[in-house]
């Protein structure tokens, strides 16, 4: 049995430190999700309005955010804006800002997709029954979009969690950074720690995301 460097995980506070690192990543992603979902719903609904200017502006925002790698967005906000505006942005604040902008764009696209997938007849038959516009949304459109949207938004959470692994690159101390520190500190005692520790990080992310994905899949099947 080759030395897999697994014993490092059991030494002292190492596992607890990794979990703390994961918690930081989760906290950032959940904060961004809490901001993104309502903002995305609002923008998504606005995108189905007839006003061309509003639609064009939102579309531009959406396309710019979505075509750039999130890493580039992080760099722009973390390095670029601190320089341009002279403020002092912590890595964590910058990440929350970027992930919220990105999440809002993704969410708004999901909302728009769900709204336009409802056949026009549904709106018309609601109005033909004498419902006011708000009531048509309240009783007919929103309940139908809700079921489509919930699994997709849950998936957005896992995507967000996975994306937070990037914040290592702008110096936030999260799970991967902690892993590096642990490996570095134990270089002499267990030279193979990199295998065991990175495997642990890999599995930690999996344990964080997989149940959420499964739940989304379950809802999708049940509500179809």
């Amino acid at each position: 049995m080759p030395d897999l460097g697994l014993e490092v995980l059991l030494k002292g506070q190492n596992m607890v430190r990794l979990l703390e690192g994961l918690w930081i990543a989760l906290r950032i992603s959940l904060t961004a999700v809490v901001i993104s979902i309502p903002a995305g719903i609002l923008l998504g609904a606005m995108m189905t309005r007839k006003n061309r200017v509003v639609r064009a502006v939102l579309r531009l925002y959406l396309e710019i955010i979505r075509i750039m790698p999130q890493m580039v967005l992080l760099f722009i906000v973390f390095f670029g804006t601190t320089r341009a505006f002279g403020w002092d942005l912590s890595g964590e604040t910058a990440s929350i800002l970027v992930f919220s902008l990105w999440g809002t764009a993704e969410m708004s696209d999901l909302v728009r997709g769900a709204l336009i997938s409802i056949p026009v007849h549904q709106y018309e038959s609601g109005e033909a029954l004498g419902l006011r516009r708000v009531q048509v949304y309240r009783y007919i459109i929103i309940p139908q979009t809700f079921r489509r949207l919930v699994p997709l938004s849950i998936n957005l959470i896992t995507r967000m969690i996975k994306t937070t692994s990037l914040i290592l690159m702008i110096g936030v101390v999260e799970v991967l950074k902690v892993a590096q520190q642990i490996i570095e500190a134990n270089r002499m005692a267990s030279p193979n720690a990199a295998f065991g520790v990175y495997l642990a990080v890999f599995l930690l992310y999996f344990i964080a995301c997989w149940p959420i994905s499964m739940f989304a899949k379950y809802l999708e099947k049940r509500w179809r």
């Binding site: 580039v72 320089r83 692994s165 490996i183 990175y198």
Partner: protein
């Protein structure tokens, strides 16, 4: 804005962009191959292999590429599997992309209604002919939007390669920011080069999708 700095450093970015494109494209090609194999296994419900591909797909889809790369690049050498960074980047991208492609192809296959298959069989076609002439052409066109989204997604994901010391666009930008404090210029170049790579793919994808939608296979 220091234009001279920008012009001076274009070649550096060019080289980095070439690296990004090369690894990205190879990664996409291998993703497609892995995706095709996995989708076929899932679609035809091959025993045992189906379980294995199922586990692979879940592992790959529920972990970030950056962690996958760290494990491949720093972890695997400890048990004797040594790779150079470029190979590692391609392997990581293929590991991630394979599952995304598999899902795209599988859902395309499953979207072709079973009665289409039956009507081909009832014309006397054998399984191979039914797949080749009836199911696959339809499945392919249904998969296109998801496929294009995956290609763009994978090309974007290459931005984490600098973490395993590949000198890609991110690496170059970070390097220049550290060396000269020309933050704005370095970032402008970064954005421009990423746009040069991603915009054409995105535009081609949209055109292809529109053409297929115009062909509208809806019965």
């Amino acid at each position: 804005m220091d234009w001279e700095f920008i012009v001076q450093h274009i070649p550096l970015y060019q080289e980095a962009a070439w690296l990004t494109v090369r690894i990205g494209l190879l990664g996409v090609v291998f993703s497609i191959l892995i995706g095709l194999v996995c989708a076929a296994i899932q679609y035809f419900r091959v025993p045992v292999l189906r379980r294995i591909t199922g586990i692979y797909i879940e592992l790959s889809r529920n972990t970030p590429l950056l962690i996958q790369l760290f494990f491949i690049y720093y972890g695997l050498p400890k048990i004797g599997i040594q790779t150079d960074p470029e190979l590692c980047g391609i392997a990581g991208l293929a590991f991630l992309g394979g599952s995304y492609m598999a899902e795209a192809f599988r859902s395309g296959l499953e979207a072709v209604s079973p009665i289409q298959m039956e009507s081909a069989l009832s014309l006397g076609m054998n399984r191979r002919q039914t797949m080749g002439y009836v199911v696959l052409p339809q499945a392919a066109s249904i998969s296109v939007p998801a496929f294009i989204a995956n290609v763009i997604f994978l090309l974007k994901e290459t931005s984490v390669f600098s973490a395993i010391s590949l000198m890609d666009l991110m690496f170059t930008a970070k390097d220049l920011i550290g060396l000269y404090y020309k933050t704005t210029e370095s970032l402008v170049l970064l954005v421009v080069f990423y746009l040069l790579i991603l915009l054409p793919v995105s535009v081609c994808g949209t055109l292809l999708e529109r053409r297929l939608r115009y062909a509208g296979f809806g019965s």
